[in-house]
Symmetry: C2
Subunit: 180 residues, 2 copies
């Protein structure tokens, strides 16, 4: 983020919130200590940059920081991928629910998708996002939009199936609540 024009810890956080947050988040409790750690490692330089009476610290990458960043970026091995999806987990155990209960979960996730897609489109239309002419952040954003739209479609189809089943119920279609 420093390389993309951020200067302070606060600034980094704001940028994350409108960009990588969806697939790589960070909190102040992580950012500020990490900046100090990077400084100790000689990868960033801190400069006092008071704003009026408020002390403020502006950071920038050192030569060593640039190299370390590039080395990491250019390494295609062991690209971490992690996911925790509670809606999917509840679908996995869906046989223990009635159709109505399952539908509530499916609908909730579909509505969440609507909100997220809306948010992403808003971000996409922000006149200035702070990366200048760079293309790659926009591509990542579009990946996000398309992914959530895919998810939304999946959940919407599921919603329709469950509603259809509710209108013409069949044996075993609705189960008793979680008792054996």
């Amino acid at each position: 983020m420093l390389r993309f024009g951020s200067r302070t810890g606060y600034d980094i956080k704001q940028k994350i919130e409108i960009s990588t947050r969806f697939f790589w988040g960070a909190s102040y409790g992580q950012i500020y200590p990490e900046l100090k750690r990077l400084e100790r490692m000689g990868l960033v330089e801190a400069e006092a940059d008071p704003r009026g009476g408020v002390k403020r610290t502006a950071y920038k990458l050192t030569e060593a920081g640039e190299s370390a960043l590039h080395e990491w970026l250019a390494d295609p091995s062991d690209l971490l991928f992690e996911m925790r999806d509670e809606a999917l987990l509840k679908i996995f155990f869906g046989d223990l629910l009635t159709d109505a209960e399952l539908l509530a979960n499916v609908r909730a996730r579909r509505e969440w998708c609507d909100q997220v897609v809306g948010l992403f489109h808003q971000i996409d239309e922000l006149p200035v996002r702070g990366w200048g002419k760079r293309e790659s952040p926009t591509e990542a954003l579009h990946y996000g939009i398309e992914l959530i739209e895919w998810m939304r479609a999946w959940y919407e189809r599921k919603e329709r199936e469950l509603k259809a089943r509710a209108r013409r119920p069949h044996p075993g279609g609705t189960r008793a609540p979680g008792r054996r």
Copy 2:
């Protein structure tokens, strides 16, 4: 997992590995202490169930455990969704890479998708997965297959774009490594 027929901590772990692992994993270091905690809370019952000379503990849900499970499953509020995707993160910062470096990341993720889809299909074809006639685990699996196939298609398209750009390079298409 206990409700779906698992009995021991070990068994739970095996089931997770062929099912929820992709969107909700767990390690032994989490499972065994958690089983003890649930026992203290009265949500599961432990029974000594030695296998030959090996001591083994079989667990099952109590009435209170059944209720707690159902209560959690039927609650559609605050469905957690989290993701960490390092490939996407590197694409986000892709403007700092040459096309060749970026391509290596894209290809690596696409190949990872191939492997995961392959694994999921193998799981899908396992004669017995241990849930009897339950439908919901299979649906979650198919969600996973379709999601990864979507991802794969996205990365493949990106791969083709980068290769095409390499064959007829244009100004600005390839940048110098991470120096300002």
